[in-house]
């Protein structure tokens, strides 16, 4: 069987790979690229352990063909931390003990990030609906919901602090400059 040559972007980096036409993105990520964060729980779209985003849309990597991501932009759980620093969601999952075996965790993190990107302060109900496509056999979900809430409020505080700075008075901005200098 002839392989399909694919050029794409994964977590911001250009990546090229050759895969079989029927090979799913999850297998490409895990077996060809070495990104083993996304997990296979079911392989049929039911558990969300394989959650990634493609061009900003949350999807199950087990139900996307590798060949489909030509020219697209894929993000996985490995793209969440930046410069060695964990994303607030990742820190809050640890602080709130929102994981036990951890198989579901990468999927929950990617799905929760997608939720917060479109809705910065979701209600508990909105969080539960948004994460309904992610199954966890261990935690009972409650700690996961709390961790997402905690991350959302931390991100909101950060955002206010930042916008407070940006909309500061002229002299305020000057003094910031001075400090930097």
């Amino acid at each position: 069987m002839a392989g399909v040559h694919v050029s794409t972007t994964i977590n911001g980096d250009p990546v090229e790979f050759v895969c079989q036409p029927g090979e799913v993105l999850l297998d490409v990520l895990r077996n060809r690229i070495g990104l083993t964060g996304a997990k296979e729980g079911c392989g049929t779209g039911d558990c969300g352990a394989c959650s990634v985003t493609v061009d900003g849309r949350l999807v199950c990597a087990c139900l996307v063909l590798g060949a489909e991501v030509e020219g697209r932009s894929v993000t996985t759980v490995e793209g969440l931390a930046s410069g060695g620093e964990l994303h607030p969601l990742q820190r809050k999952f640890i602080e709130h003990a929102a994981l036990q075996c951890g198989i579901c965790t990468p999927g929950f993190l990617v799905a929760a990030k997608a939720l917060l990107d479109r809705n910065a302060s979701p209600s508990e109900e909105e969080i539960r609906y948004a994460l309904a496509g992610n199954l966890c056999r261990c935690t009972g979900y409650d700690k996961i919901v709390r961790a997402v809430q905690a991350a959302a409020s931390e991100l909101a505080t950060d955002a206010t602090r930042k916008s407070g700075k940006a909309s500061g008075s002229k002299s305020g901005r000057k003094s910031t400059k001075k400090q930097v200098a």
Binding site: P21, L58, V59, C60, C62, V64, L65, E68
Partner: protein
């Protein structure tokens, strides 16, 4: 197996028509790739339609809306104009799967998968949606209820695909709604379902109506007798009972682990009543 991602409908049709073995259109893949991985199908060719420009957008047209066959359901939820015009169609499309599935699944795929329990189909039927079918012999437009032929089978012929689903602009004082019964609130397949659309005349009297049921027959069914039961009424108790009775009379469901014949038949009537009330309110009725 070959994977092709043509950039025009014409090229997609040509690929499907000239292929000797089994060929499948790939939209969101939330049915197709499950079947492929499960070994239920062994395609020689998969034609991915997501690179075809004309299939990627929701367009407002002179006569209503045109939803490209590759538009994921999540994008239907994001369209304010569509939400305003056909809230029942959007709520039905948004019920399909999880956020992950929403990012991929299409209403055209839901229609072509031809499951009697397909969530978006009853609402498309009551909204008078049409499928724009393109094939080697050209283009035809058919009512969506003519596409499913039975569980997993459609009336599309070799080389044909659906380019878009069209919806008319709703008449003034029109409302629609879709309800399903599932044991879980999310991520479940309808045990049975009902969609209703109504258009009101003077004094809140129902002037036009359409009623469709899901998961109670081999295909989604349009029930003209149920529509007749509420036309000319203001949805009083007697009219609603007549609507439910007509719906139950149209049911010929299967018995399975998700519901018995009796349960499905009874609940179909209940859901139709509730959906009619929501549609009536959305149409501005009190």
């Amino acid at each position: 197996m070959k994977y092709e991602a043509p950039t025009s409908t014409k090229d997609a049709v040509a690929l499907l028509a000239k292929n000797k073995g089994s060929a499948y259109v790939l939209a969101g893949g939330s049915d197709l790739l499950v079947r492929l991985k499960g070994g239920f199908i062994e395609p020689d060719l998969i034609v991915d339609i997501k690179r075809i420009g004309a299939m990627q957008e929701i367009k407002k047209t002179a006569s209503g809306f045109r939803i490209g066959a590759a538009v994921p359901c999540v994008a239907m939820g994001e369209s304010q104009a569509l939400n305003k015009a056909w809230p029942g169609v959007v709520e039905a499309a948004k019920l399909i799967g999880s956020d992950q599935v929403q990012g991929r699944c299409t209403v055209t795929g839901n229609l072509c998968n031809a499951s009697p329990a397909a969530d978006s189909v009853p609402a498309l039927v009551t909204a008078r949606a049409k499928a724009v079918v393109v094939g080697p012999k050209g283009r035809r437009t058919v009512a969506v209820e003519k596409i499913p032929a039975g569980p997993g089978r459609t009336t599309l012929t070799k080389g044909e695909l659906i380019e878009a689903i069209t919806l008319p602009a709703p008449k003034p004082k029109t409302g629609d709604a879709y309800l399903r019964f599932t044991p879980r609130t999310e991520m479940d397949i309808a045990v049975c379902s009902a969609a209703v659309s109504v258009t009101l005349g003077k004094g809140g009297v129902v002037e036009e109506a359409r009623v469709a049921l899901g998961a109670v027959a081999p295909t989604v069914v349009l029930v003209p007798a149920a529509a007749k039961a509420i036309i000319g009424t203001k949805l009083d108790a007697a009219a609603l009972d007549a609507l439910a009775a007509a719906c139950r009379a149209a049911c010929s469901p299967i018995d399975d682990k998700r519901g018995t014949v009796e349960f499905r038949t009874d609940v179909a009537g209940v859901l139709a009543k509730r959906a009619a009330k929501v549609a009536y309110q959305r149409a501005g009725g009190k």
